[in-house]
Symmetry: C2
Subunit: 348 residues, 2 copies
């Protein structure tokens, strides 16, 4: 197994390092030969070579069986709206060039952490939903985008083709068939032309999946019901921007963004990354929660290698660490907090 | 006081009827002469005259001192992506032609309802935040929008001019000055050109309001923190679509969408409406919660007529109805539920 490592910015390198320890331990236990190849992205790559997703990094990803990705983003660029090159461009270029059109973001609760959620226990216990967020289209990529000549107007374009919607929707139907057979199409079809094409396309495909119940819900209503009654959902499909907003929102259900993994599936490779960002305030302090990245490695064994025992060994270890309180400061309650590296060592 | 009444669709007529009773009671108590003029909008107007915002309705709004609006929307149109005329077009046209560029959506808790929220008491008790949602720009209105000739691609355009951003942002700064002096600019400046213009514009204005602390936060982060720690926020300014999603999400804090009023301020008039939709499943059953509309009438006295005692009399009555359990079935807990019309009578 050849794994590309893209630590990226902020806490990325620290959390990736823990995932590597865990993956190595799995290799040893299950007898797999695993090699890693590291490459640069994001602000780190801008600093080194002036580009947030260098060609060399792209080649490393293409040649790997799977990519483990940390995070991208640096506040140096956020408050400088005129910056020409920004770290996030690298993330978007990577997603696009690797054809990672479907970002799979499961949301679930951990028995030992339910009490940490801002939500009441009875609302969330047993939540088991998964978002399929379209990741290479929509307003993130549509042209034209930019400013008028005088700089007095800015514009972005949201574009979707039937094929882009269809491949994501089909994956959604297939996920639903393997789960509780319920699919929610999230859109804003009462306002947006792109949303109407989403709805129309999903409606056209639905008869091919007669065992799946499909619901169509406006994004604003989902933003509310997701908190009121998350157990109502099974599989949700969304366009890129709605998925960005709703999956971050959904992370409150599990009590922490530091826990939520994701898998990006598509054409040229498979990529695994925590949904939390680069969290620059914590960078270099050995305090960031590595569990989302470690669980992303579990998803890698499941989705890239179809090795379910290996995936389960990792998630069991994570559950045990939570039960035993071997956790970083964001999860430690008045008790002693472990360092990022200590949690990684323990899990490995 | 000349008030235009636009009941609209679904539960709109029923909840507007209760607000009218309350406004009349206020007129009597405080000695104001109040006249109402009703006009059609939405699916009701499509059915009657083929257009969801007829010219005659527009004239009624322009001539009024304030507009009380119910809701627009009908499921007959939602699942027919090819419908040429849709009720929501009327809502958007109304907002645009009346110049209602700022939708003020307060979020707060009711002492007697805190236990109803899906969120834990300590997270939400004392929440007092207000969204200023830009309402006449962005992807709701930008051109071009539609499909390519073959129908295989759809597109929407998000556009913002400096002036549009500036007038909303200035209102945000002014709101903050009258409140806790904290302003959050919600954007997605790491991806969108329009968001970068928002951020740049707010940054340019900030020195004119030195007493206001400004924070810039990405929409995905706000979607999360709004649930984790809503008390962190005071005034939030957002573009149109982000505001749509976040304000519905924020309604869970108070425990029910049936409670959240809004005021739309701008150029040609002031409009007041509940943030809940037309809720067609409940239409005609006399079960819908009228409080959001009644509280919108309270906002009308405050924002359109600057009559604070009148506004307070209404919100006091609402608080009392909640304490005494004179509430519709969505809020009645195992106890007897009152009808929409009974709650209206009691409040009046
Ligand atoms: C960093 C940013 C561009 C990115 C996104 O919006 O896709 C992030 O929020 C995510 O969800 O992966
Ligand atoms: C009905 C719909 C077009 C509308 C909107 O998106 O603005 C509604 O959700 C609202 O928030 O007032």
């Amino acid at each position: 197994m050849n794994i590309a490592l893209l630590p990226g910015d902020g806490i990325g390198p620290e959390v990736i390092a823990q995932a590597v320890k865990v993956v190595q331990a799995i290799g040893k236990k299950f007898g797999h030969t695993i090699t890693f190849k590291e490459a640069i992205t994001g602000a780190a790559a801008i600093d080194a070579v002036g580009h947030p997703y260098p060609e060399e990094t792209h080649q490393v990803c293409l040649q790997a069986d799977a990519v483990l990705f940390g995070a991208i983003g640096d506040p140096r660029f956020d408050n400088d709206p005129s910056a020409k090159v920004r770290p996030e461009q690298g993330l978007l270029e990577m997603r696009k060039r690797l054809g990672l059109f479907s970002n799979v973001r499961p949301t679930f609760t951990f028995p030992s952490l339910v009490h940490k959620s801002p939500l009441k226990r009875d609302r969330i216990e047993g939540t088991d939903l998964v978002f399929l967020r379209e990741l290479t289209g929509g307003i993130y990529f549509g042209e034209p985008r930019g400013r008028n000549e005088q700089g007095t107007k800015a514009f972005d374009t949201c574009v979707y083709s039937v094929e882009e919607i269809e491949r994501l929707a089909r994956m959604g139907f297939e996920f639903a068939q393997k789960r509780r057979k319920h699919l929610t199409c999230v859109d804003k079809a009462n306002v947006l032309a792109t949303s109407r094409l989403w709805r129309e396309t999903v409606q056209r495909l639905a008869p091919e999946y007669p065992d799946v119940t499909v619901e169509y819900e406006f994004v604003d209503a989902v933003a509310m019901r997701l908190i009121q009654w998350p157990k109502a959902y099974d599989v949700l499909i969304t366009e890129n921007l709605f998925g960005d907003i709703l999956t971050d929102e959904a992370s409150v259900i599990s009590g922490s963004m530091g826990l939520m993994p994701s898998a990006s599936l598509g054409v040229n490779t498979k990529l695994f990354e925590p949904i939390h960002g680069s969290y620059p305030q914590a960078a270099g302090k050995d305090i960031a929660n590595p569990l989302a990245t470690v669980l992303s490695a579990a998803m890698m064994f499941e989705y890239a290698f179809e090795l379910m025992d290996e995936a389960k060994a990792i998630s069991d270890a994570v559950n045990l660490s939570l039960e035993k309180g071997i956790v970083t400061e964001d999860l430690a309650e008045g008790e002693v907090a472990y360092k990022t590296s200590e949690v990684g060592d323990w899990l490995a």
